[in-house]
Amino acid sequence: MPGLSMRQFRAILKKDIVMELRTKEMITSMGLYAILTMVVYQVALAEAGENFDVRLVMPGLIWVAFIFMSMLGLNRSFVHEKDQGCLDALLLAPIDRPVIFLSKSVGNLLFLLVVEALSLPVFAFLFLQGKEGIGNPIWMIALVLFGASIGIAGVGTLLATISVNTSGKDIMLAVLFVPLEYPLLRAAVGATFAAVIGGPGTMTAFWGWMAWIAAFDVIMVAVAYGLYEFVIGA
């Protein structure tokens, strides 16, 4: 990246972080959502009995929470750009459009990772105490979170740019986002499951799923990157 683009990238990222630290809009709404989801999970699992192995459904529950939570954040991230026409001011500047995509995606990725890292221990605290522990090393879960969040933030940034310009922003993002993220979500649950259960064969399965996540990230984020200039200029 040439010098100016780098300056612009850093400035947009910094601005989003400063604004978030000031308003705490995204983090609080996403965090609250995660906590509320866990309350719902408690109800959902209430009749499942004592001997039921939570680890079997835990990967799915985690990603259900994360996928819906991420949509809240993604929506917010463009609403404030649109609010007072700031996006136009950004587009008026001599800025390469992909720089906007990269900086917004990285910002969204950061916020996602923060909320994920905060809510996972809470999940473990509420649901895994006194149960069997995590079968494989914990870094494996961290790796899944990181890998899958890239795909969520990258594709999500493009879709949020679209949905913020439509009527019915929130539901629009969900309608576009969930089916597109399906393969990523499937792989993330697969990899998380392999990491949580542990035991023979899970390492192979884990890396198999991780390869899918990597492939999705590379292909879909590259396409989103390529399409961004058209979408933001429309």
Binding site: A11, Q84, D88
Partner: protein, 243 residues
């Protein structure tokens, strides 16, 4: 930024059109504006005023014809052109959750301005907002927002300023301040203003343009305009021009 290509006209528009399918937002628009001029664009809603300004500010590409600002083509040289233009809109184009200073510093980075702190300080003094520089923009009044918005537009010392109904929603006091500000920078800039207010637009302009249904109905220098006849033409287009 004195490396402007040397041509006579500040804004040169030739056969400009912008259409999607069969709907034409701009249809064969041509005019030429000398440097230092102040152009007021009048016309009914949907006449293509905003589209014209968006094309001239590189936010939209034309579908036919050409438009050049100081010899820079809006399509070919868009990146370079963006360094020479500023926009003041009725929307402040500022982040409500950043302070006045943070907003200006942020946009300084977008333009790659050297010594941004000094430039920002200078501008904040110019628009008389230095005492509020550490306050979040959300707390500003409409007039203060508009002043800060002017500072934002002037950050990179643009040669051409586009004004999109800058007076709408301002109280008389804020209007006076805006008048003074525009007056103080008038000499070194070329202005293109969209206006709904015929009196204000005529008072400020050196050239006037009436658009209706994407076509130029009238383009004249202020000195050649007979005010009564102009008002009549304006009323006629506003009355019937909406398609």
């Amino acid at each position: 930024m004195g490396d402007m290509p040397d041509t006579g006209a500040a804004v040169e528009v030739r056969g400009l059109s912008r259409a999607f399918g069969l709907r034409k937002a701009l249809d064969d628009v041509s005019f030429s504006l000398p440097a230092g001029a102040f152009l007021s664009i009048f016309g009914p809603n949907g006449a293509g005023k905003t589209t014209l300004v968006k094309v001239l500010t590189t936010l939209l590409n034309p579908t036919g014809g050409s438009a050049k600002v100081f010899g820079l083509d809006v399509v070919e040289d868009s990146d370079e052109l963006r360094r020479h233009i500023g926009l003041i809109s009725h929307n402040p184009l500022l982040y409500p959750d950043l302070t006045a200073e943070e907003n200006l510093l942020f946009f300084s980075e977008m333009y790659g301005i050297s010594e941004p702190e000094r430039r920002v300080r200078e501008l904040l003094v110019d628009v008389e907002l230095d005492h509020r520089r550490l306050d979040v923009v959300r707390t500003f009044s409409r007039g203060m927002l508009q002043r800060l918005s002017i500072a934002r537009a002037l950050l990179h010392k643009p040669e051409v300023l586009f004004l999109d109904e800058p007076y709408s929603g301002l109280d008389p006091h804020a209007m006076d301040i805006l008048d003074n500000l525009i007056g103080s920078i008038r000499g070194d800039h070329t202005f293109v203003m969209i206006s709904h207010d015929l009196d204000k637009g005529l008072e400020l302009c050196s050239h006037a343009l009436i658009l209706a249904s994407g076509r130029v109905v009238m383009f004249e220098p202020r000195s050649a305009i007979d005010e009564a006849a102009f008002r009549e033409t304006y009323r006629a287009t506003v009355g019937t021009g909406v398609s």
